[in-house]
């Protein structure tokens, strides 16, 4: 080697040696930075090499590049070139991984502003999902515990998907429910079992007692490794049939599937089963296939991080999200039937009423102000009406009494008069959730009266339900896609099913005996109600 190359070789070797040494002390240096508050933010975690490289190599110029990308993004949006926005947002997040305010804005912009520029519901849903994914898959990757991101994510679930302000809201709910059904499979609600399932391949190996059977089956079916099999599982949402059979024969299907679903929930959707359990314990059984439960989940996670005095306002916004979502979940938070957007049907989750009430009161107590008094009174009104409609008269009485204690003027009428008055007002300006709940409530009452052999009263309830149904459908004419109710026959079927589930066993049996002898108007058109499954 010529002499002139020696200095270069020496320098390169020195550089490699120093980098090697640096890697040993970097962890300690980061710890010192945090301990002594030497930087405003913690060192970046979980960053892929490209992000780590750009954040170091570009230094202060990252901001300039980020600004330019931001301006380009705005320009592209103005020109209707939305195809670039996902890529630009991705780069902005990678260039400024700690600037979570910008990530939250970009996600909100996609979910709200970009989505509504499309007329097709499918296109709109794609953009709402992009917004969610930007926070969940990108921003949270670098800022795993950032409450601002949690809050924004919760807001998209609660407001964009949960409310009926967007023409496509029912499409969102339907598609989201399908996605969740795919995610949970047959293990919906079994959070404790899922929580115990291993999250890493090595731990799965330990659960399978280090037997190579599972990996032999994978190899025999052409999978190069566990990750490839996992990808296939996520595409199909079930274990491929042939593999499933072989796993079943080997007696290891359940631990494998639980591990796959646990990993899918945590790694992709960032849904921690322990949190699902915690929230179910706190509020009652939430419907995790509907957006409200997810709004509560993210708001709770955000709230947990905001505990200092300066975060009061942010914490309050999370609390608001929680009690509003709980209220929605109480009023229409159980998925009854799902085929497509026309057939999406939900029903009140009455068991949540006390949890919602407690959430409102806790918030009032915590902030020592009447921030939410108006909202609480509205909830009490809704609770009384809803409980009454669904036959929970004693509970409705309890809630009207609570209302009287708080606002005697608003709750001055007796229970029946109060409910009738509210119902009349509701149907004029009802959201479809309200209208759906009202019609279902009357149908349930009708079946209850039928079961106790009060045929005349039952008939009058059916007539009222049908009148309300027709009245509401006329009222929303022209906007049926957004606010229309499911077909009448379907609502009858689901209400009858609910009645059988909810009534005490003897009453349910009585109803089954009486029904065939009753007037035809009580008998829904033939056909069974399918469970909410997705093929």
């Amino acid at each position: 080697m010529k002499n002139r190359y020696w200095p270069i070789v020496v320098l390169v070797l020195a550089m490699v040696a120093m980098l090697g040494l640096l890697s040993f002390i970097q962890g300690r240096m980061n710890a010192i930075r945090v301990e002594n508050h030497l930087t405003d933010v913690d060192p970046l975690e979980n960053a892929p090499p490209l992000v780590a490289f750009t954040s170091v190599a570009l230094g202060g110029f990252r901001g300039l590049v980020g600004d330019w990308l931001w301006l380009r993004s705005s320009k592209m949006q103005d020109e209707g070139k939305y195809f670039e926005m996902v890529q630009l947002a991705d780069w902005i997040v990678k260039l400024q991984p700690r600037f979570t305010g910008s990530h939250a804005f970009l996600a909100w912009n996609m979910a709200y502003n970009v989505s509504v520029t499309f007329t097709s519901f499918e296109d709109r849903w794609r953009w709402v999902k992009r917004g969610i994914e930007l926070i969940r898959d990108e921003a949270l990757e670098f800022n795993p515990g950032d409450p601002e991101l949690f809050r924004q994510l919760g807001w998209i679930y609660q407001h964009k998907m949960g409310k009926d302000l967007d023409d496509a809201n029912r499409y969102y709910k339907t598609e989201f429910a399908k996605e969740m059904i795919r995610l949970f499979g047959d293990y919906y609600g079994q959070w404790e079992i899922i929580q115990k399932a291993p999250l890493e391949e090595s731990k799965l190996k330990a659960v399978l007692e280090n037997q190579p059977e599972f990996w032999n089956i994978l190899a025999a079916n052409g999978y190069k490794n566990f990750l490839e099999f996992e990808q296939e599982f996520r595409n199909l949402a079930v274990i491929p049939e042939k593999v499933s059979r072989q796993l079943q024969e080997a007696g290891i299907k359940e631990p494998v599937e639980l591990c796959l679903r646990h990993r899918w929930m945590v790694n992709k959707y960032r849904l921690e089963p322990k949190w699902l359990l915690k929230l179910n314990d706190r509020y009652g059984n939430l419907e995790w296939r509907l957006p409200e439960a997810h709004a509560i989940y993210w708001a709770e996670r955000g709230k947990e991080k905001w505990h200092s005095a300066i975060d009061t306002f942010k914490r309050l916004s999370c609390d608001r999200m929680i009690f509003q979502s709980l209220n929605n979940a109480f009023q229409m938070g159980r998925l009854v039937y799902l085929k497509d957007i026309e057939h999406l049907e939900m029903t009140p989750n009455i068991s949540l009423v006390d949890a919602v009430d407690k959430a409102y009161r806790d918030v009032q107590e915590y902030y020592e102000e009447s921030h939410v008094e108006g909202a609480y009174v509205n909830f009490l009104v809704d609770a009384v009406v809803c409980l009454y409609k669904f036959g929970e008269k004693s509970k409705a009485k309890e809630y009207i009494d609570k209302g009287r204690a708080l606002n005697p003027g608003r709750f001055k009428l007796n229970l029946e008069e109060f409910v009738l008055q509210e119902l009349a007002e509701d149907m004029e300006a009802a959201s479809y959730q309200h209208a759906q709940g009202t019609v279902q409530g009357y149908l349930l009452q009708a079946y209850y009266q039928l079961a106790i052999e009060e045929q005349e009263t039952a008939e009058s309830y059916v007539v009222i339900a049908k009148q309300l149904y027709d009245h509401y459908q006329r009222f929303v004419e022209g906007t049926e896609k957004r606010r229309g109710l499911p077909p009448w026959e379907q609502m009858q079927k689901t209400s009858l099913m609910l009645a059988k589930q909810r009534f005490p066993e003897p009453l349910a049996r009585r109803l089954e005996e009486i029904l065939p002898r009753s007037d035809e108007k009580f008998i829904p058109a033939a056909g069974e109600i399918a469970a909410p499954v997705v093929k």
């Binding site: 020109e79 209707g80 070139k81 939305y82 195809f83 670039e84 926005m85 996902v86 890529q87 991705d90 509504v116 520029t117 007329t119 794609r126 953009w127 992009r130 023409d167 022209g478 906007t479």
Partner: protein
């Protein structure tokens, strides 16, 4: 002097260059195509040796191979193609333009500074041929790089599309809307002048106008108001557009109506959802009903671009000069669902146009590459011209300044606010005079943005032959011709012996 009195015999495929008649016959030289080719090849060789070129070429290769395979769109097939085209082609064309300009600026000026050119000009080779050979060398080399890069990008996009797992419906939509060349048909322009005259006469008759008023000023005001109102549709009102000569190759073709409307005011950032009806006149049903419009209801977000497909067979009236009639109804207040109804505003630039497929994607792609080639030809000429006059750094500075002025002027022209009728709204006299100045400079300076066809290509808009023809005339014949003439003149007149070697 060498180069005077040149004569070109095209039929014999070689040039004969004559010296002036008063020179001796022995000095007459015949410079064959070989001389030109020799200069061109030498230019390419020395370009390939340039270190700056090596770096830029490496970056070009990275852009060609990495960008189409790494950028991700919005998850749709159309998004993938659009973003790949936008990023790959833009970056590659920009990099190739940079190398073109740099090499064009540096090769000639360095040869002058290094006295290499003295060896060439002492041979029987006119200076215009030296200049042309340099230009051709730079152009041909970059044209080849561009075409190869374009072919690779085209192949990579198709490859990625094939691996994308997209549904058949999505691919079909992509081929109808994005990977296609769609011609834009504009609506008939309303007769503003007769409307203006009519309104003027009415005001005159009603005595609204003062005696001694300036007719031109009043008519100008009326015209602005008429044009502004032309794009406004109040709640409960409707508007009809007529498109003549919508020629389609077959009745199975799809037409796409592209438009953007604003709710209330185009400057309002809080745009509303507009409940409306869109429909077409159905020629087949004209005999049965007087105005057989098929209408469909929509709720459209204000300020967003929209595309609405319709089958050509249903709406093109073959008996009426291939006419299409489109109607829009802004629904009345009762249909706005509690929101205050506002007018729908169509700006002149965003009014509905009908897009119809007239060429395939490959053809459109090739056309946009022709425009890119024009750009390279122009930049090579610009670089060679300034390289003839200055040293490399000064030449590069002069060429970049020219381009920066072109880009800045473009931005300056678009800077003032516009009225709804498309006219400019100046804040003061200063702004107006600066804007007029920018418009004059714009005529003189070429903006490279003019040649960017990638945006149209990505949207599936046809790059028309007429556009290519205009670009050829304006950019190649006039601008490049003038700049080339200037460069040749400078090189011919320049006293090369006075250049000081550093």
């Amino acid at each position: 002097m060498i180069g005077e009195g040149c004569k070109i015999h095209y039929g014999k495929l070689y040039y004969k260059v004559y010296k002036s008649a008063n020179r001796k016959a022995t000095n007459r030289q015949v410079v064959s195509v070989k001389a030109f080719l020799a200069i061109m090849i030498q230019t390419i060789r020395s370009a390939v040796r340039s270190k700056v070129f090596h770096v830029l070429f490496l970056v070009i290769m990275l852009a060609v191979f990495l960008l189409p395979t790494t950028v991700s769109g919005d998850g749709t097939a159309a998004g993938l193609v659009q973003i790949s085209l936008t990023y790959s082609l833009n970056v590659v064309v920009a990099l190739i333009s940079t190398t073109t300009l740099w090499l064009a600026c540096s090769l000639l000026s360095r040869e002058i500074e290094a006295y290499n050119i003295h060896l060439v000009v002492s041979k029987p080779c006119p200076r215009w041929l030296v200049w042309l050979g340099k230009w051709a060398g730079v152009f041909v080399m970059h044209a080849v790089i561009l075409l190869v890069s374009a072919a690779v990008i085209f192949a990579l996009i198709n490859w990625r599309l094939g691996r994308g797992n997209f549904s058949e419906a999505e691919i079909a939509r992509l081929k109808m809307e994005t990977m296609v060349g769609r011609r834009a048909f504009l609506p008939q322009r309303p007769d503003f002048e007769s409307e203006v005259n009519q309104e003027y006469r009415r005001r005159l008759a009603s005595g609204e106008l003062e005696a001694g008023h300036n007719e031109g000023t009043v008519k100008g005001e009326i015209r602005r108001s008429v044009i502004a109102k032309e794009g406004e549709v109040k709640p409960g009102d409707m508007k009809t557009w007529t498109y003549p000569n919508v020629s389609t190759s077959s009745d199975d073709d799809m037409l796409y109506i592209r438009y953007r409307m604003y709710s209330g005011d185009s400057t309002d950032t809080n745009q509303k959802m507009i409940p409306c009806l869109w429909g077409f006149l159905l020629p087949a049903e004209k005999s049965q009903v007087s105005a057989p419009f098929a209408m469909q209801d929509f709720r459209i977000a204000g300020g967003s671009f929209q595309e609405m497909p319709v089958r050509a067979a249903a709406v093109v009236d073959r008996e009426q000069n291939n006419q299409v009639v489109l109607r829009f109804v802004n629904l009345p207040q009762e249909m706005w669902g509690g929101v205050e109804a506002v007018p729908a505003v169509f700006q002149a630039a965003d009014r509905p146009v009908i897009l119809c497929r007239v060429a395939g994607f490959f053809s459109n792609y090739a056309r946009s590459m022709v425009l890119a080639l024009f750009q390279i030809a122009f930049l090579a000429a610009l670089g060679c011209a300034v390289g003839s006059a200055f040293s490399t750094p000064v030449a590069a500075f002069a060429a970049i300044s020219y381009l920066v002025i072109g880009m800045s002027v473009q931005a300056a022209i678009g800077a003032p606010l516009r009225n709804e009728d498309g006219s400019y709204r100046y804040k003061n006299l200063m702004e107006e005079s600066m804007h007029k100045f920018a418009q004059v400079v714009r005529v003189l300076v070429v903006s490279v943005d003019d040649l960017d066809a990638t945006s149209d290509l990505a949207k599936g808009n046809l790059v028309e032959y007429s556009r290519i023809g205009r670009a050829f005339l304006n950019l190649i014949v006039i601008r490049t011709g003038l700049i080339a003439g200037l460069g040749v003149w400078i090189l011919t007149k320049r006293e090369l012996g006075t250049v000081i070697k550093r």
